[in-house]
C-alpha cells in the first residue's frame, strides 16, 4: 500500500494520545478541585481556647471552650464572617465553621446558639442528652436531660472514626426557636454543655434532625459535608 496511511497515522495517534491524557487528567483535576477537598470554612478549624484546669470526678483535666451556632440558612454571617461561603445560601448550616480541634482527655465546654426552627426527630432517641458531664445540658439557663422530641431544631452528635475510641459518644439536642420562623430573625436558644474528649484521632459529628430535603429529610444539606456535618479533631 502507499505510504499515505502511515504518514497520516502519526498526527492522528498524537492527537488521540493528547486527548486521552487530557481527559484522564481533566477528570482527576475536576474531582480534586471541586469536591475532593473536605469543606473547610475560611475560618478554618476552630481550635478550642484553654481556660485553665478543672476537676471532674476526682480527675484534674485541662478545660477548653468552643463556640459555634446553627442557622436556618447560610446566607448570613457570624461576627463578620459568612456562614458558608460559596455554599447554597438557602440551606441551614452550622457556622462559622464545621471543624473543631480539642486536646485529648480534656473537659470541653461548648456554647451554642441555635437560631433555627425545627420539628420532629426521625428517632426520638436523639432528644436525650448523652455523653456530656452528668448527661445534662444547660438550655437557656436550665439544666435539662432531654428536650421535646417534636420541637428539635438540630442536634450535635459526635462519635469517633472507626477504631477511634469507640466508647466516646456525645449527643446534644438543640431545641427549636418557637414558631415556624425559618428566617434569621435574631431569636436563638442558648445551649451549653461539657464533655470529656476522647483519645487522639478524628471524630465525625453530624446533625440528626432531618432539616434537609428528600427521603427522611436527610438529603440536601444533611448529606453535604460542611452544613450539618463536620469533624472534631482530638490532638
Amino acid at each position: 500500500m502507499s505510504e499515505k496511511p502511515g504518514r497520516e497515522r502519526k498526527p492522528k495517534a498524537l492527537g488521540i494520545i493528547l486527548t486521552f491524557v487530557a481527559v484522564a487528567i481533566g477528570v482527576a483535576v475536576v474531582a480534586i478541585l471541586f469536591h475532593a477537598q473536605t469543606y473547610t470554612s475560611p475560618v478554618g478549624t476552630q481550635v478550642a481556647k484553654s481556660v485553665g484546669t478543672v476537676t471532674v470526678n476526682g480527675q484534674t483535666l485541662q478545660h477548653v471552650t468552643l463556640a459555634f451556632n446553627t442557622y436556618p440558612d447560610a446566607s448570613g454571617s457570624v461576627d463578620g464572617q459568612a456562614i458558608h461561603p460559596g455554599g447554597n445560601p438557602s440551606w441551614p448550616s452550622y457556622g462559622p465553621t464545621n471543624q473543631f480541634q480539642v486536646p485529648a482527655h480534656a473537659l470541653v465546654t461548648v456554647t451554642m446558639r441555635q437560631y433555627d426552627s425545627g420539628g420532629s426527630l426521625n428517632n426520638p432517641w436523639f432528644a436525650t442528652v448523652r455523653g456530656t458531664v452528668g448527661s445534662v445540658a444547660r438550655i437557656n439557663g436550665r439544666l435539662v436531660h432531654a428536650v421535646n422530641p417534636n420541637n428539635v431544631g438540630h442536634t450535635f452528635t459526635v462519635r469517633g472514626a472507626p477504631g477511634t475510641d469507640p466508647g466516646f459518644f456525645v449527643n446534644v439536642p438543640l431545641p427549636a426557636v418557637p414558631g415556624n420562623n425559618q428566617s434569621d430573625n435574631g431569636q436563638y436558644e442558648t445551649v451549653i454543655f461539657s464533655f470529656v474528649s476522647g483519645s487522639q484521632g478524628v471524630y465525625g459529628w453530624n446533625c440528626e434532625y432531618p432539616c434537609g430535603t428528600s427521603v427522611a429529610g436527610f438529603g440536601g444539606p444533611m448529606s453535604a459535608f460542611g452544613y450539618m456535618s463536620g469533624f472534631l479533631h482530638v490532638v
Binding site: F20, V30, A31, G163, F225
Partner: protein, 646 residues
C-alpha cells in the same frame, strides 16, 4: 497499483464536491456545539418554566442532560438521513460512500462514519479513554485508603469517586471487546462487507460518546453518593448529580442495545457462502451470545432509571417506603440487569481469548460445540440468579435456597470453558507470543475469581461476606483479572490487523509482568481486608485493616504502572511499529485473509468458506487452495450485490 483498464479500489472513488450533503460540514466539533447548545437551551427553558417546588434542580438537570444527548446527535448528523426520508428524499450512492468515509482520510474518525472499521477504532479510543478515567479514579480511591483516616479526599468526594469509578468501569468493560472488535472484526470474520445496519452502528458509537460527559458532570452537580448500584432510597435522596447519572445510563443502554442488535443480525443474515453455524469462529458466537444477553438485561436498567427519575423529579413512589414504595423493587430491577450484565462483560472477551488460545497453541478449539453450548447455558442460567446479590436484604429469605442452587449451577458451564482452554492447550505447540501470555494470566486469575464467587454463593458464608471487601476482590478478579485480561489478549491479537503495525512485544512483556503481579498483590490485599471484616465503600476504616489496605494500595500502584507501560507500548507501536503483514499469526479465520489495512467493504473477492477456522494439523481441503490474485472487482458490478449492507 492500477493500470489504465483496471478500476480503482472502492475507497479511491472520486466523489463530487456535493457528496454527503450536510454531512460534509458535520463532525465532532459541530456535535459538541449542538450538544452544549441544546443542553443550554434546555437548561434555560426548564429553569424558567419548571423551577417549581417539587421540580427544582432535578428537573433542570434532567432536561439539560437530555438536551445534551439529543443536541450532540443532531450536531453530528445522526438524524440527517431519517429527516430526509421523512421529507421524501433519499441519500444517493455518493452520499452513502461519503458516509462510509471515502475521500476523507483520517478526518473520517471524527465524524459520523458508517464504515464498521472506523466505528471499531472509534470504540477502541473510547474504551481507552474511559478506562483511563476509571483507572485514575481507582488510584484516587486507593490513595485515600493507604491510611485509615486519610484527609486526601473528603467523604462526599470519596463516595462520588467510588460511584463514577464503578460506572465508568462497567461502561468500559461492557464495550471493551464488542465495541472495537465486535465492530471491526466480526463482519470480516463472517465474510460480510459491513454490518447489517451501518448507520445504527455509527449511532451506537456516538450515543456512547454522548453518555460519558453527564457521568463526569456528576462531580460538579453534588456527586452521586450511592455507588454505581445507586440503591434506592439513598439514590432518591441524592443530589441532582443522580439525574445526570440516570441520563448516562439511559443513553448508554440504547447504545448497547443498538450495537447488540447489529451484531446479532449481521451474524445471522450476512455470513458468506459456506459459513455455516458450525464453521463460525467461536468469537463470533461469543459476541452474539453476549449481545443477546445484553438485549435482555439493558431494558431492565432503563426501566429502573426512568422510575428513579420520576421518583426524584415528579414525586412518584416506586422506591420510597414512606409513601408506599420499596427499595427492594429497585434492588430486584437492578440485579435482574446487574447479574446478566457481568456475563455480557465476560463472554465476548473470553470467546475472543479462545481464538487466541487456538491460534497460539496451533490446535483446534477443544470441544467447540460443547463450549458454544456452555456459553448459551451460562446466559440462560444467568437470568435466574440475580437475587444472590440480595441474600442479606431480607427481601425473600425463602428464595435464598433456590437462588443458591441456580448460582452454584452456573459453575458447571463455566467449568466447561476451562475445559475448552486446557483441552486446547493440551499437547499443542505453544507459541509464546504476547497474546498468549495474557491468556495464561486469564487462566490463573479466573480460577481465583470463580472459586471466590462460590464462597459468596453459599448463603451462610455470604451472610458474613456480603458488603465487605471480599466481594470487591472477587469481582475485580473476575472482571479485571478475567474479562479485561482476556480483552487485552484479544487486543494484542488483533492489533496488527487494526493498526497495521506489530505491537512491541519486549515492552509488552514488561507491562505483562507488572500487571500480572500487580493484580495478585492488589486483590489478595483486598481478600485479606474482606476476611478481616472491612466493609465496602468506606473512606475511613478501622486501623486493624491497615496492613491489608497498604498491601492493596502498593499493588494498585504497580498495576497502574503496568497499564501505563502497556499504553506506551501500544501508542509507540501504533506510531512507530513495524508494519504488519496481513496474517502475522498464520491464523485461519477470514479476518486474516484480507489485506492490512483492510479495504473498504473488506473483501476484494467474495469469500467462499469450506471449513472452520480451526484446521490446524489437518490437511487442507480441496480448492480453493491458493489465494486468489488481487484483481479488484469493479464497484457496483453484479458480483458485489450479494451481502450488501442494508
Amino acid at each position: 497499483m492500477t493500470t489504465a483498464a483496471a478500476p480503482a479500489l472502492l475507497e479511491d472513488t472520486q466523489l463530487s464536491s456535493r457528496a454527503g450533503g450536510l454531512y460534509r460540514h458535520q463532525n465532532i466539533v459541530t456535535g459538541l456545539i449542538g450538544g452544549i447548545g441544546l443542553g443550554a437551551i434546555g437548561w434555560a427553558l426548564s429553569h424558567q418554566f419548571l423551577q417549581g417546588s417539587n421540580w427544582g434542580t432535578d428537573m433542570v438537570v434532567t432536561v439539560t442532560m437530555a438536551g445534551w444527548v439529543i443536541g450532540l446527535l443532531l450536531g453530528i448528523g445522526a438524524f440527517n438521513a431519517p429527516v430526509l426520508w421523512m421529507l421524501g428524499h433519499d441519500q444517493t450512492h455518493e452520499d452513502e460512500l461519503y458516509l462510509a468515509g471515502v475521500g476523507q482520510g483520517p478526518r473520517r474518525y471524527w465524524k459520523f462514519c458508517t464504515d464498521h472499521k472506523v466505528v471499531g477504532v472509534q470504540y477502541l479510543i473510547a474504551v481507552f479513554t474511559i478506562f483511563g478515567v476509571g483507572g485514575t479514579l481507582a488510584m484516587m480511591i486507593r490513595t485515600q485508603l493507604v491510611s485509615a483516616h486519610s484527609s486526601f479526599l473528603g467523604a462526599n468526594a470519596y463516595n462520588a469517586i467510588v460511584s463514577v469509578h464503578g460506572m465508568a468501569m462497567i461502561v468500559a468493560t461492557i464495550i471493551m471487546v464488542t465495541g472495537p472488535f465486535g465492530n471491526f472484526i466480526v463482519p470480516i470474520m463472517v465474510g460480510a462487507k459491513d454490518m447489517a445496519f451501518p448507520r445504527l452502528n455509527a449511532l451506537s458509537f456516538w450515543l456512547l460518546f454522548a453518555a460519558v460527559p453527564p457521568l463526569l458532570a456528576t462531580f460538579v452537580l453534588g456527586g452521586v453518593d450511592a455507588g454505581w448500584t445507586t440503591y434506592a432510597p439513598l439514590s432518591v435522596q441524592a443530589p441532582p448529580a443522580m439525574d445526570a447519572f440516570a441520563i448516562t445510563i439511559l443513553t448508554f443502554a440504547v447504545s448497547v442495545t443498538l450495537s447488540g442488535i447489529n451484531i446479532i443480525v449481521t451474524v445471522l443474515t450476512m455470513r458468506a457462502e459456506g459459513m455455516t453455524l458450525n464453521r463460525l469462529p467461536i468469537f463470533t458466537w461469543g459476541a452474539v451470545i453476549g449481545s443477546a444477553l445484553g438485549l435482555y438485561a439493558m431494558p431492565a436498567f432503563m426501566v429502573g432509571m426512568v422510575m428513579m427519575i420520576t421518583d426524584r423529579v415528579t414525586g412518584t413512589s416506586f422506591f420510597v417506603a414512606a409513601v408506599g414504595g420499596s427499595g427492594w423493587l429497585w434492588e430486584n430491577i437492578f440485579w435482574i440487569m446487574g447479574h446478566p450484565e457481568v456475563y455480557v462483560i465476560l463472554i465476548p472477551p473470553v470467546a475472543a481469548m479462545l481464538e487466541v488460545v487456538s491460534t497460539f497453541a496451533r490446535k483446534p478449539i477443544f470441544a467447540y460445540k460443547v463450549t458454544v453450548g456452555a456459553f448459551i447455558a451460562i446466559i440462560a442460567l444467568s437470568i435466574m440468579v440475580w437475587a444472590h446479590h440480595m441474600f442479606t436484604t431480607g427481601w425473600a429469605p425463602d428464595l435464598n435456597g433456590p437462588f443458591m442452587l441456580t448460582t452454584e449451577l452456573i459453575s458447571i458451564p463455566t467449568g466447561i470453558i476451562f475445559l475448552c482452554v486446557i483441552g486446547t492447550l493440551w499437547r499443542g505447540s505453544i507459541w509464546t507470543r504476547l497474546p498468549m501470555y495474557w491468556a495464561y494470566l486469564f487462566l490463573w486469575n479466573f480460577i481465583i475469581g470463580g472459586v471466590t464467587g462460590i464462597y459468596l454463593s453459599d448463603v451462610p458464608a455470604d451472610n458474613y461476606f456480603h458488603g465487605d471487601m471480599f466481594v470487591t476482590a472477587h469481582f475485580h478478579y473476575t472482571l479485571l483479572g478475567g474479562a479485561m485480561i482476556a480483552a487485552v489478549a484479544a487486543f494484542c491479537y488483533w492489533f496488527p490487523k487494526v493498526s497495521g503495525r506489530m505491537l512491541n512485544e519486549r515492552i509488552g512483556k514488561v507491562a505483562f509482568w507488572m500487571v500480572a503481579i500487580g493484580i495478585q498483590i492488589t486483590y489478595f490485599g483486598m481478600f485479606w481486608e474482606g476476611f478481616e471484616g472491612m466493609p465496602r465503600r468506606v473512606a475511613y476504616y478501622d486501623p486493624i485493616f491497615l496492613h491489608a489496605n497498604q498491601m492493596a494500595t502498593v499493588g494498585a500502584y504497580l498495576l497502574m504502572a503496568g497499564f501505563v507501560v502497556l499504553l506506551y507500548a501500544i501508542i509507540h507501536s501504533w506510531v512507530h511499529g513495524r508494519p504488519a503483514p496481513a496474517n502475522p499469526w498464520h491464523a485461519k479465520s477470514l479476518e486474516w485473509m484480507v489485506p492490512t489495512p483492510v479495504p473498504l467493504e473488506n473483501f476484494l473477492v467474495e469469500p467462499v468458506v469450506t471449513a472452520d477456522p480451526y484446521g490446524y494439523g489437518e490437511p487442507e481441503p480441496a480448492a480453493p487452495a491458493a489465494e486468489p490474485e488481487r484483481e479488484p472487482v469493479p464497484v457496483g458490478s453484479a458480483e458485489t450485490t450479494a451481502g450488501e449492507p442494508v
